[in-house]
Amino acid sequence: MSGFRDSRLAALKAKIAALEAGGRADSESLPFGAAAIDACLPGGGLPLGQWHELLGAGMETELGACPAAFAALAAAPLARRGQAVWILRRDDLFAPGLVGLGFPAERLIQVCARDEDEALAVAEDALSTLGVAAVFAEVEGVDLTAGRRLQLACEKHGATGFMIRRRPYGGQARKETAGSAAATRWKIAPAPSEPGSGEFGLGPPRWRVELERCRGGRTGAWLLEAEAAYTWEAEHGPHPLRLVAELGDRQLAPAEPVRLSA
């Protein structure tokens, strides 16, 4: 009985996932390699062929360094499969820094857009290009219409988008739009590093990563570390991000509804 129920449930979940992926049956995902994170994501990993929203807090809303670092690390395995495009409003991305994190900067094309609309248009164009695996765009915000357009572009050839929310220096914060077409929304904040015992200086970089929204999955918060950053091993290994700890103090609603049962 329970076996039948489970199989029905699995079939239904697959059907919903297929509907959400816009009819693309072969919706792939990129596992983080940590069960705690992958369990929250639909398909057991970062959904590909969709776009993700990344944002920072405080100083990071203008700098956009932590979300960019997280996006580069999460997309590094993708960039090794194809080409990557990074759309900037401010030309301050430093390729040697990406190499240190293990991102193949030799496969990255950078584009400096003149304004917000142009950045979104270029992102859409790049996402719908064959051979482009990952597109990063630094934008102020993505409204519902732009988000749907990005989603359609992603579905063309299965490219994955990373929209890094970044405000121009001294600019006003944009009004938050209610809905979003993003598959996931992540909030990235820096976290103090832990050097190994007997070592001086800084340890491998760490981030406090919150999965704020996840279509077809659950939310969560974790402490992640780029273990191999700034070493020659940075570009090797299954996934550059390692789970250090699951963060208990979630400000969000509990992921699983409280089951009321007798």
Binding site: A68, A69, D92, L93, F94, A113, L130, A191
Partner: protein
């Protein structure tokens, strides 16, 4: 007409039968003016090795403008000697002269005494004086008239009053005299290197509607691309010019990352720019010129659908679209430069350049965001002058440093600049610091420690 022929009594313009009578075993050949002209053009093309400005002088002469190039050969005499020697090597015997004006040089080459004549600057008048009037390239009627009047030498003509001279022999005679003496300019039509990648469409009626412009762009692109296709080539840069009825030419340019010859793609790249064209009273000619033409081998598109897609299919057109829409300098790939100075170690390169992996060592930590201008830090506290800071203020926020790493000393590249500007003040000591929240910064102290001089601290980037 060489010496041997002259000795037999032959001369140019002689009847073939007379010549046969003089020399019974004469071998005669048909005159071929077209072949002569082709050979002269080939010779003019070859002469470019001496000077970029070469003009043909049909039927048997070549003008070279050697101003500013003679010293490369050791002087005018050496240039002329080298020219004649090389031609003699291939069985062509020529006479040459160097003078201030094309007219004087022509006269000396055709009628002067000797095969190599160098006229000193402003000295052509003395050399020309004893030449016949025909040396001035006069019209046949005028030359014959002078002959009849007993004017055998230029000396006699140059002294005559100008007005009667013009009345009797025509205005052209005066012009030729002035040109030979350097009193009037002479326009030579210099040889132009052939530009084969060119297509032109002329219209019966001038056009001005945008749809028409789009249509003719497609047509002219198809015309040029058919030829590129035939010869296995593609163009990297194209220049489309609309010629208006009022004589103005309106150019449009596009560039492509990979050489292409697909008319639809070229028309698509040009289409958004057509709106900027002001047709005025109409456009009657459109030309398309391909620059930077390269050999493009037709490559087989994927048999194996799983392989990485070819650049021509996806990335190439994307780069073209973006660089034509945003401007070439806004689309780039970062390429490495051998330099320790962080801001100099990366440079923007063309978006489809092949950059080797590990172009930068991952072991030297570099920030993800590098500021173009380092930003000054205030309220920096360090325990000793060469210690990392314990706290600093940046953009009105105080950061307490929890961990620090360094210094990494980066000196200036003294071998590049002026030696007088080199100073120990340009040395930078970089520290990687982490504040209480975990935010990681790349800060540096400028210059070496000096007693009594407060240290200056800068933020050069953030790691994220």
């Amino acid at each position: 007409m060489d010496k041997a022929a002259r000795a037999l009594g032959l001369f140019a313009g002689q009847k073939a039968t007379d010549a046969m009578a003089l020399v019974p075993d004469l071998v005669s050949a048909e005159s071929e003016p077209e072949a002569d002209a082709t050979a002269l053009t080939a010779l003019a093309d070859w002469s470019v090795r001496y000077s970029p400005a070469v003009a043909e002088d049909a039927p048997d002469g070549i003008f070279l403008d050697i101003s500013g190039v003679a010293h490369l050969w050791g002087g005018e005499a050496q240039l002329l000697a080298d020219y004649r020697a090389r031609l003699a090597g291939s069985g062509i015997f020529v006479r040459g002269a160097v003078a201030d004006t094309p007219g004087a040089a022509w006269a000396l080459a055709h009628y002067g005494k000797g095969a190599e004549i160098i006229a000193p600057p402003n000295g052509q008048a003395d050399l020309l004086a004893y030449l016949p009037p025909a040396a001035l390239r006069l019209e046949p009627a005028a030359a014959a008239q002078m002959e009849r009047l007993g004017l055998r030498l230029l000396l006699q003509i140059l002294g005559l009053p100008r007005a009667p001279l013009a009345r009797r022999f025509g205005q052209q005679t005066l012009v030729r005299i002035d040109q030979a003496m350097g009193r009037a300019d002479e326009a030579l039509s210099f040889r132009r290197p052939p530009h084969p990648w060119f297509a032109r469409l002329a219209f019966f009626e001038p056009i001005s509607a945008l749809e028409d412009l789009q249509r003719v762009t497609r047509d002219v692109a198809a015309k040029l691309c058919a030829r590129l296709e035939q010869e296995g080539r593609g163009a990297r840069r194209l220049r489309l010019v609309f010629h208006r009825v009022d004589g103005r030419a309106l150019p449009l340019e596009i560039g492509m990352a990979l050489a292409a010859r697909d008319p639809a793609r070229i028309a698509k790249l040009l289409a958004p720019k057509l709106e900027t064209i002001d047709p005025g009273f109409g456009i009657d000619v459109v030309t398309l010129e391909a620059e930077a033409v390269e050999v493009v081998s037709g490559r087989q598109v994927r048999l194996d659908a799983r392989a990485e897609p070819a650049i021509e299919e996806g990335l190439g057109p994307l780069v073209d679209r973006l660089s034509n829409r945003l401007g070439g300098e806004r689309v780039w790939k970062t390429a490495p430069v051998q330099s320790h100075v962080p801001e100099l170690s990366a440079r923007p390169a063309a978006p489809l350049t092949a950059v080797p992996p590990y172009a930068w060592s991952p072991e030297a930590p570099r920030p993800l965001r590098l500021f173009r201008q380092p930003e000054p830090l205030d309220l920096v506290m360090a325990l000793t002058p060469d210690d990392p800071p314990r706290q600093f203020q940046w953009r009105k926020r105080l950061h307490r440093v929890a961990r620090a790493e360094g210094p990494e000393r980066i000196g200036e590249e003294w071998w590049r600049g002026d030696i007088d500007d080199v100073s120990p003040r340009h040395v930078r000591d970089y520290y990687r610091v982490e504040d209480q929240d975990g935010a990681r910064f790349w800060v540096y102290r400028e210059g070496l420690y000096e007693d009594g001089v407060p240290a200056r601290w800068w933020l050069h980037g953030v790691f994220g």
